[in-house]
Amino acid sequence: MVETILDVRDLRTSFYTDEGEVKAVDGVSFSVPKGKTIGIVGESGSGKSITSLSILRLLASNGKVVGGEVRFKGDNLLAYSEKKMRSLRGNKISMIFQEPMTSLNPVFTVGQQISETLIEHQGMSKKAAMAKSVDLLKLVGIPSPDKRVKQYPYELSGGMRQRVMIAIALACNPEILIADEPTTALDVTIQAQILGLIRDLQQRMGMSVVLITHDLGVVAETCDYVAVMYAGQVVEYSDVRTLFRKPKHPYTVGLLKSLPRPDEDQEKLIPIHGTVPSPLHMPVGCRFNPRCPAATDLCREKLPDLFDDGEGNQVRCWIYNEQWPGEKEVDVFGEERTARC
């Protein structure tokens, strides 16, 4: 078994708004093995970004981590002082964001923005940091880096900017890179390039990657493990093979069913009925129960835990528990069978 570098246990994050407490993340658990890539998938609003911001403790001022643990090499980051946390950010754990167009500061040059991290964490001189910035730009595949380093963000395309963001993130050789939908805002061809770059750098530098996406195709191609999120919770965590071959949670099954496949007729696409619940009005019991074809009274009353299957894979569904009142073999979405573990 590979060493676990980051272990998130039962993370809970709330926002305090005028309408009340928004439990944006309410029970997220997953672990990141060293040197591996884990994907976090889920619909918009399921809490993926908030999960990653909670790990680095970068929430907006009205947000607060209210429970759980984030263990980085055994230490709980939630107990760290702000100062200690700062020394980790951009250094041991880096993050890149969804919006390359707005994630760079418009009034500083690319070089200044890369150097800054090096100066802060490695105590480099301005000159040395600038030289290293050129190397980093080369590393992320930016042509004529010695010219680009002096340019401002407005002089760069979206793809270029995301490469710069990656250069900033990788400047201090982080152990973990969290990439929050790094390609969503980019053209399809650029998307593939950026993902390829992340994959390539991950292998070269031996870091762990947390890749947030809502594209299951990207997950299949890139990730070793997957955490599926629904309404602020992780509903399934498993290695990527198992997830695609034997998805357990009815939501995961639904997701895969709604995915167009080359070997199947387009007509067989089955959408999941209903809509994502609002974080202000979560259903009682399992959060997926109003949309789940297999829901029973138990599902409508009690929220299931993340049950472990003994092989490191987990699922938050009553079907996989002794208390399940229904049939042992459940037909979800008409076709695929979710086998009992």
Partner: protein, 313 residues
């Protein structure tokens, strides 16, 4: 960029012409015969006729305007009706006094405004923030003349700490800095309040930007994030306000100058209005207006320069 500057320069030409027409019309917009008004009620017909002759008021109006303008472009604003001296000479010394007053007021407004605005933004929604913003609201809504009188009452009459009158000189502070304090506070307070509010809202907007989140994700300290990453962006719109305030102070110095008996352009204008010395009024208003137009021009160009990196992004 050069293109923009040229275009902007060209745009000021019609503005300046408009201003000159307005200023020129001042005399003719007042109901009645300007010559009679200047001469005063009940003045003998002969005097009125003389004035009319001297000011060329018996010529057709467009001719009068052209005459006036041909003088203006040669630096001749006519002569004072009262002293007979050239308007340019009358204005010259007064102009520097007002410019000095407006400059000090701007410095004060920028200094106080920026500090208050930054503190407010950094501590937003706390007691400090609310307190600063309430004070700013007061500063903003307080009429200049009232503030001036209150200051005089407290510091000059009540405490006898600072003089209630001021004799600003083009030479600067010199022996008279104590005299400058109250007028500068009087004139600058409103501007400080506006700059504080602008800085605060601009900072708050910037703090919510994605690149600030990036800066935090890099592990930078709050100091660096606030003063390097946020402030540099937040100041861009503030620059505009500072420029406009300066222009406003130039024109708005009238009340302050009157209260503190400062012999600046504002007071000159008021006195000239009282004595119905129209050439002086026209000259003073024209100079201030033209200056205002140019301050605006500089503000626009510098904003464009500063904003270049953001605008095209």
């Amino acid at each position: 960029m050069t293109k923009y500057i040229i275009r902007r320069l060209l745009q000021t030409i019609p503005v300046l012409i408009g201003v000159s027409i307005l200023v020129f019309s001042l005399m003719h917009l007042i109901p009645g015969d300007p010559a009679q008004i200047i001469a005063g009620e009940g003045a003998p017909e002969k005097t009125v006729e003389q004035i009319r002759e001297r000011l060329g008021l018996n010529e057709p109006i467009h001719k009068q305007y052209l005459n006036y303008m041909s003088g203006v472009v040669q630096g001749d604003l006519g002569n004072s009706v009262r002293s007979g001296r050239p308007v340019v000479d009358e204005i010259k010394t007064r102009f520097w006094v007002t410019l000095e007053l407006a400059t000090y007021a701007t410095i004060l407004a920028v200094f106080i405004g920026l500090m208050a605005g930054i503190i407010s933004a950094v501590r937003h929604y706390t007691f400090t923030d609310t307190a600063i913003m309430i004070v700013a609201l007061f500063g903003l809504s307080m009429p200049n003349f009232w503030l001036g009188l209150v200051l005089i009452d407290w510091f000059a009459i009540g405490g006898d700490w600072l003089p209630a009158w001021a004799k600003l000189r083009p030479s600067g502070w010199g022996d008279s800095w104590r005299q400058v304090v109250l007028p500068v506070i009087t004139l600058g307070t409103g501007g400080a309040a506006i700059i504080a509010r602008m800085t605060r809202s601009s900072m708050l907007e910037v703090i919510g930007q994605d690149y600030i989140r990036t800066a935090r994700a890099k592990g930078l300290t709050d100091r660096v994030i606030t003063y390097r990453h946020a402030l540099k962006n937040a100041l861009i719109p503030v620059v505009t306000v500072v420029g406009l305030e300066f222009g406003g102070f130039l024109g708005g110095a009238v009340l302050t100058e009157t209260i503190f008996a400062i012999n600046g352009m504002g007071r000159l204008t008021v006195q000239a209005i009282n004595t119905r010395d129209f050439p002086i009024v026209q000259g003073a208003v024209l100079v201030i207006s033209v200056l205002f137009v140019f301050v605006n021009l500089i503000v626009d160009i510098s904003y464009k320069l500063l904003n270049k990196r953001i605008d095209l992004g």
